[in-house]
Subunit: 388 residues, 2 copies
């Protein structure tokens, strides 16, 4: 495994390692912020001139399929990404010329719900029951096969609750599929879960693995509102085991976040974990690793993409995160209250305000669980929830 | 106190707050890295085209006294600094046009040893005994008055052990003063201290105070090698009390770090604290606040300079820091070993290599003191000490 000195020549003004990133949003911004102190030069390919990464990285402002932009990325030691919906054409142009981590095959899976679910089963991880809907004939008997109630989701391009319809009857199923434009979909059986949890795993090209902690997530209207990390979650060991299996089976190079439904256990936490979806990158739920003590998910992805040595990146302290979405009139967060709240750290992405848009988050850290939960209630009161 | 929304207009692509920084070295780089997630735009005035701050802030490459550069700084909400030896002319040009924090009077003290020591006494803080040497006549009896043994230091421009001569006799005193060019000096009495410790205090223009933790420092050949923070240091309360007195008496606006000699106590820690020197800014010893959980010294200085609400910034976890100085052949740090050491985080500044130059540091964090001390020994073995 290659772990070069960041000082290859005595008089070099440039660090040796360089990392290309496809996409220049907030995840790329935070990846670049984590890369900078490691001596890693970051080069971003992104069409939007106002993309957040411009504040701390060199941005090539061009379409993802721009040949000159892709050519420049080929000069990096490795290329990683901040979102999975990168055009296949762009990935194909890079392939064989520069290591893309995660690679094309893994990305093709994680950008397509049906492929992802089948590959999860192939790796020995359970999901909710599902039926793939590609033609009208697939609708027959589908609802019964997933338990009579479910959610119809497009195979591609869905995120934050978009491209989803709840289904409770055959008529809703037919109407829902029409509403989604008769594109390929997955009908997922309704899961009465106890908790939504997530866990990230990093794996480098040498096969070395590292894990984040088990994070509990609360969504509102399909968008993540709050994440919570408490050391010693009883479900962590099982989630790590599943993440290890998938990372190894899929030959992950980079970082991957698994979202799980935890089924209600026998009178307490500890029920079965079903994989809901997989993000082949850092994830909103892992932002709390920036301030919980220890490595962040961002540093873990940078290291894994460069095939550097890894370290586990579960926070050392109890910590939490609350997202800041663009607000409606009179619902602006209480900024001075956030600044004053002990252990609260604001992270803004520098994006233009727009109602419902993810503009930033606040991480919260505390010496113990009781203090964290008390402060988290205060923090949630300072950031009004966004109602679409 | 003004704590504006970072989103003043619905369609703004620019955050509202902006901070000017005099100097573009590693401290400015890390201030800018802390400012970015707060939505604070940073503008740096710095003559060196290779200065580390260029990686994450807008840098005006010009002399500190460049009128156009100073004019642009006047457009910021406030100006702060990363080193105290800013030309008085530059400060005078800014005064009255933009808040400079810390302000001119405090800076004039902290860049001049004799003025600083007199002002410390004025605030009720003790120092080692000293005699100001401005003319040959001041040499008479000076050594006796400081206890027969001491260190002669230039009043201005000394740092990292430069501009200092150890004095044990009248002949050495006369020779030492000649070697220092007969510039104004302070002869300080030799202090047989138990520990060197430091503590930072932030104060905003509204008078609100916040404190860092008590950090223990080990120097080698006049340059900081290792800093250590353990929660609950018995000397912390006294150091905070002294820092509060000085910050209030000097009407600090910004952040200030006090370096202390702790005299040996009666059979244990807890002896008197003498102020060695004061830095009107973030300090090498406080770098460990980046990774110890909670606010960093850098965020504290940004907030204080902008007159935002403050928070204490002592780390929540035991943590430490080891500096990386430019090495001699065969003495390069063991980078893979650093990457692998649990809880170690590398921070490189992007400076050209030069033997003895501060190029970066490694922060180390651990769940408890025993683990921290064990890992710190490992870390120190991975970074050979620099022998001048």
């Amino acid at each position: 495994m290659s772990t070069p000195s960041p000082f290859p020549q005595a008089a070099s003004h440039k660090p040796q390692a360089s990392l290309g990133i496809l996409g220049g949003g907030q995840l790329a911004q935070m990846l670049a912020l984590a890369a900078l102190p490691l001596g890693v030069r970051v080069l971003v390919l992104e069409p939007d001139p106002h993309a957040p990464a411009r504040e701390c990285a060199e941005v090539i402002q061009a379409p993802y399929t721009d040949p000159a932009g892709l050519e420049r990325l080929c000069g990096c030691d490795a290329v990683t990404l901040e979102f999975e919906n990168v055009p296949t054409l762009a990935l194909a142009a890079l392939e064989g010329r520069v290591p893309v981590r995660p690679g094309g095959e893994l990305l093709e899976r994680s950008k397509h719900r049906a492929r992802e679910k089948l590959a999860l089963h192939g790796a020995g991880a359970a999901t909710a029951p599902f039926v793939v809907i590609e033609a009208a004939a697939d609708l027959d008997g589908a609802l019964e096969r997933v338990g009579g109630r479910g959610v119809l989701k497009t195979c591609e391009l869905g995120y934050d609750g978009k491209g989803q319809v709840r289904i409770g009857s055959q008529a809703e199923l037919e109407g829902g599929w029409a509403a989604l434009g008769h594109v390929p979909c997955v009908l997922e059986g309704w899961v009465s879960f106890g908790r939504e949890v997530s866990l990230a795993v990093a794996r480098n090209a040498g096969g070395e693995l590292a894990f984040g902690g088990l994070i509990e997530n609360v969504h509102q209207h399909g968008v993540l509102r709050t994440s919570l990390y408490l050391p010693g979650d009883p479900a962590e060991a099982r989630a790590r085991d599943l993440a290890r299996r998938v990372a190894q089976d899929w030959q992950l190079e980079g970082l991957m976040t698994l979202e799980f439904f935890e089924l209600p256990g026998g009178g307490g936490p500890g029920g079965e974990l079903l994989v809901n979806e997989v993000a082949p990158r850092v994830h909103n739920s892992g932002h709390l690793t920036q301030d919980g003590g220890g490595l962040s998910q961002f540093e873990a992805q940078v290291r894994a993409a460069l095939n550097w040595p890894l370290q586990d990146f579960a926070p050392l302290l109890p910590c939490a995160m609350v997202n800041i979405l663009g607000w409606r009139q009179g619902q602006e967060p209480d900024w001075p209250g956030i600044y004053r709240l002990s252990g609260a750290r604001l992270h803004l992405y520098g994006k233009a305000h727009q109602p419902g848009r993810k503009l930033g988050h606040v991480n919260l850290v505390a010496p113990d669980e009781g203090t964290l939960r008390r402060r988290l209630s205060e923090l949630e009161a300072l950031i009004p929830a966004f109602i679409p």
